[in-house]
């Protein structure tokens, strides 16, 4: 359980530093403290490989003077260190340039009821280490019992408990507690020179919502062995089905293009497209920080702006960029409660599900690829160009015929948004970016 006395102490540190900064000449001051505990155990081939348990805290400071900004962070909480950092930050503002868009958000707004967000599980800090070890061991045991599995990267169980405290010179002082837990395993199949590998991870706010060791092991096995004995294919432009994890990956790329920061820097292909049609009518994309119990849920962002629900793309029309208060001022928009440190981050950013089952979508492929995994870089927000190493399953007449590897996929996000011809009903919130199975009309798959 969190320690009441420590919480009060940390809130005092935050408030006092805000006052200290104001007294020493800053126009505005913001102090954020993140304090937490971490537990991680890695099991490999039945034995504990490593076990880490620790508590730590970090403080982030922003000062603004004459519309000039300076930041500081520290893991050293000595009073003298923190006060010196504030003084040095105030001095550093004098060497920066005035920026009329700088500054804290305007007067604090009421924040949502934290309890109803359901992001803290009291069972997590209470959970016995031996039980955590057992969960990871069980997961690996089940996976290793499958004769097709030839090696293990290990299974891990991780928990985190974090307390966030935020204070600023506009009178904001709030805190919230949250928990995370995850159980994962990575596997290999095949002989040394023909290995394939994949993993599965269940990551949640609550222990009770974690997938069981059995389910996690089965998913990891299935995901791994389905890539055995891959074929190379000739270069072809074909329909491509994205599995949910791949849709999430695509949404992560889209997020970087609708982030207010990329937009005001003109580093996004969507820069001048507000209120224009950028996708087909079937596409609605939402960022929502208030869905109870999800990984991206939080009451307020890193500047204290309450999180909410923002429709980014509404039936194909671009309706909003996701902003912190700086990007919002730059773009003459409102902050959407997406501040994350000094930048912009997602809350729960997802594609609204459709009505087709994944099976129906796959069955609709005359010839094409199911994209299961990508590796590498090759995303360019300025042009929307995508070029990645890819793994997948080749489909003919609606049936999976063999796995493919050593291919790359290339396309353009602007075009893909129009080319999503089918959307699955299988949306699950697996991370901050979530999407169901989708079908893209065509992408270039480069092979031989």
């Amino acid at each position: 359980m969190t320690d009441e006395k420590q919480t009060i102490e940390l809130m005092n540190i935050a408030e006092n530093l805000v006052t200290f900064g104001r007294v020493h000449g800053a126009d505005e001051v913001e102090v954020a403290i993140s304090e937490g505990t971490e537990f991680n155990v890695d099991i490999r081939l039945g034995e504990i490989e490593s076990l880490t348990e620790a508590g730590s805290k970090i403080i982030g400071i922003r000062v603004i003077k004459d519309m000039k900004t300076a930041y500081a962070t520290s893991s050293d909480f000595k009073k003298r260190t923190l006060q010196n950092l504030v003084k040095s930050a105030i001095y550093r503002t004098t060497l920066a340039d005035a920026d009329e868009c700088s500054g804290l958000p305007p007067a604090p707004e009421p924040i949502p009821d934290i309890d109803s967000l359901d992001i803290y599980d009291p069972e997590i800090p209470e959970l016995d280490s031996q039980k955590k070890i057992k969960l990871a061991k069980e997961t690996e045991n089940i996976a290793l019992a499958d004769p097709r599995i030839t090696n293990s990267h290990g299974a891990s169980f991780e928990t985190r408990e974090i307390q966030t405290i935020l204070a600023n010179s506009n009178g904001f002082l709030q805190k919230y507690n949250e928990t995370f837990c995850s159980l994962s395993i990575g596997l290999q199949a095949g002989d040394t020179d023909f290995k394939v590998e994949d993993y599965w991870e269940s990551s949640k706010r609550h222990l009770k919502s974690l997938e069981s060791p059995e389910i996690i092991a089965r998913k990891a096995i299935e995901r791994t062995v389905r890539h055995l004995n891959p074929k190379k294919i000739p270069t072809k432009t074909v329909p491509v089905v994205f599995e949910p994890l791949m849709t999430s990956w695509l949404l992560g790329f889209l997020f970087s293009c609708v982030s207010g920061i990329s937009v005001y820097l003109k580093a996004s292909f969507l820069t001048d497209k507000m209120n224009e049609k950028i996708a087909n009518e079937g596409i609605t994309i939402i960022d929502d920080g208030l869905i109870p119990g999800k990984l991206g849920t939080r009451p307020f962002d890193s500047e204290g702006v309450p999180c909410g629900k923002t429709i980014v793309i509404d039936k194909g029309i671009l309706r909003n960029f996701l902003c912190n208060s700086y990007a919002a001022r730059k773009l003459k928009l409102q902050s959407t409660g997406n501040a994350d440190g000094a930048g912009v981050g997602p809350n729960n950013f997802y594609l609204q599900p459709g009505i087709k089952t994944p099976e129906e979508i796959i069955a609709s492929l005359e010839e094409g690829l199911i994209l299961t995994r990508t590796i590498g870089h090759g995303l360019n927000p300025i042009t929307g160009d995508i070029s990645r190493g890819a793994f997948g399953l080749w489909v003919e007449k609606g049936e999976i015929v063999y796995p493919v590897s050593e291919v790359t996929i290339s396309g353009n996000l602007g075009k893909i948004l129009y080319d999503i011809t089918m959307i699955g009903d299988d949306l699950e919130f697996l991370s901050a970016f979530s999407g169901p199975t989708i079908k893209i009309k065509e992408l270039t798959v480069s092979g031989q």
Partner: protein, 478 residues
């Protein structure tokens, strides 16, 4: 000499309020459940950032990282605790957490400390950035910015960042080791966006290393960083996507070192070898590529970003031969893997910071030069791709890797012709090593800006290579 060491120690003990006898006590607590080995890693780092965009110095940042991690090894098991609360109680708790990994009946005690002085310094610096005046750094940033801006009127947006760090580490272990390293690190980078009609492209350039600010006057002039970023962005405006499919690929010297890093380096990190997850695990001494190929990892190259005087386990690093004339010759070891594999330490145990367990990592990885002139190599290609700059790469243990080419050229009839952009190359490492046909005589290193990620930990690295010809590779394009 002894006196100097003592001053170094006092500095740390002041920061942490810990005496040498406290440290000894903590090590003994860490060993109290019967571990084979215990270690304390103390870190004090200062980081600064200056950011310029939209023609103004937009923000500056200063960060302090102070904390310690305690590790206990027991057989193949690792226990780890860390804290940035420096009360003896909290540190003791971290030691007990780490200790709990062991359950042996025979107990050891920490040996007497034997302070180790390091006979070398790979980064003697004139003007350390961390203590330089902020306005000096701002003027460097401005000179990069204006050189990009002046380069061409089609350059519409520029971002310049100067990041400097100084990391003090002290490593103390139960075998009596006590050693410190003070590691400076600078990175100066420029991103430039060029516009022409509806087209927008992004260019990047940068440099730095474990150097002082004089580097940007004497070695890599700050103006060059701006103009190179602008030049790349402008070049991309005229570039087309490459044709897709299998073709010969010529890798430009220097930046293409990312191929060596991804396709070879990672899979020779000893943890992947002893766990038999790397495709190389059973190939030591075996032929894995053409005779022309020799690959090293060398943490001792002066001023390089990936270099260090001691690794994060206190081991003095060695230039390590990985592939010798096509034969697999060695692995990158940390303490745990070396012990389990009964091999010598190579000094490649690195960690991101005090919150992380050390693991085998690369430092500065490169392919040794060969015999062919770059001109002969290009001349030998009828139709193919010349890969010049990269966004990065990724590999998995099975040897499948990709790397993303941000810019390059077509090769037609032995000549470099039209510019191309955004190609992804994919392959399997042993296959590609066997397809390396020609190795050039022009070894160079990539930008001193690279960061490698492994197991959630980031580490500064450098890589390099001469011009290389690969007979056939899958290129993703249009």
């Amino acid at each position: 000499m002894k006196k100097k060491e003592k001053i170094q120690h006092l500095k740390f003990e002041d920061r942490f309020d810990l005496t040498e006898s406290d440290l000894k006590k903590i090590l003994n607590i860490a060993l109290s459940r019967g571990g084979d080995f215990a270690e304390i890693f103390l870190e004090y780092s200062i980081y600064h950032l200056v950011n310029m965009e939209e023609d103004i110095i937009k923000e500056t940042d200063e960060s302090i990282r102070l904390g310690l991690g305690i590790r206990v090894l027991s057989g193949e098991k690792t226990g780890y605790g860390y804290t940035n609360d420096h009360s003896f109680e909290k540190i003791k708790k971290a030691a007990q957490t780490a200790a709990a990994i062991a359950s042996e009946s025979s107990l050891r005690n920490a040996k007497r400390f034997l302070p180790q002085s390091i006979p070398h310094n790979y980064y003697p610096i004139l003007t350390p950035a961390h203590s330089a005046r902020l306005d000096t750094k701002i003027s460097i940033v401005k000179s990069v910015y204006s050189s990009a801006q002046k380069y061409d009127s089609r350059i519409k947006k520029i971002k310049v960042s100067l990041i400097d760090q100084i990391q003090h580490v002290k490593i103390i272990n139960s075998e009596g080791l006590i050693v410190t390293d003070v590691r400076p690190l600078i990175k100066l980078v420029c991103v430039a966006i060029a516009e022409k009609g509806q087209k927008r492209e992004i260019g990047f350039f940068g440099g730095g290393g474990r150097v002082g600010l004089e580097y940007f006057k004497n070695t890599l002039k700050s103006e060059i960083i701006g103009s190179q970023a602008a030049q790349e962005a402008l070049g991309l405006l005229e570039a087309k996507l490459p044709p897709a499919g299998e073709m010969p690929v010529v890798l430009a010297p220097g930046h293409s070192g990312v191929l060596i890093h991804e396709a070879v380096g990672h899979l020779l990190e000893a943890d992947f070898i002893r766990k038999k997850t790397s495709v190389f695990w059973n190939k030591l001494g075996g032929k894995v590529g053409n005779d022309q190929i020799s690959i090293y990892d060398d943490p001792t190259i002066p001023y390089f970003r990936g270099s260090y005087n001691v690794d994060d386990e206190g081991t003095i690093p060695k230039k390590t031969l990985l592939i010798h004339k096509g034969k697999l010759a060695g692995f990158l070891q940390d303490r745990l893997s070396a012990k389990l594999m009964k091999k010598d330490l190579t000094g490649h145990g690195r960690r991101q910071d005090y919150t992380c367990i050390p693991i085998p990592r690369m430092s500065n990885t490169y392919m040794e030069k060969g015999e062919y002139s770059p001109e002969e190599i290009i001349k030998s290609v009828q139709k193919g791709l010349y890969a010049q700059r990269y966004q990065g790469g990724q590999v998995e243990d099975s040897g499948k890797f990709t790397f993303s080419v941000s810019s390059g050229f077509l090769i037609e009839n032995g000549k470099i012709t039209a510019p191309v952009k955004h190609a992804t190359l994919i392959g399997t490492n042993i296959d590609i090593l066997n397809k390396i046909e020609m190795v050039g005589s022009d070894l160079d290193f990539g930008l001193q800006t690279g960061t490698c990620g492994k197991g959630g930990q980031e580490a500064p690295v450098t890589d390099g290579c001469p011009t290389i010809k690969i007979s056939k590779m899958t290129v993703g394009g249009k």
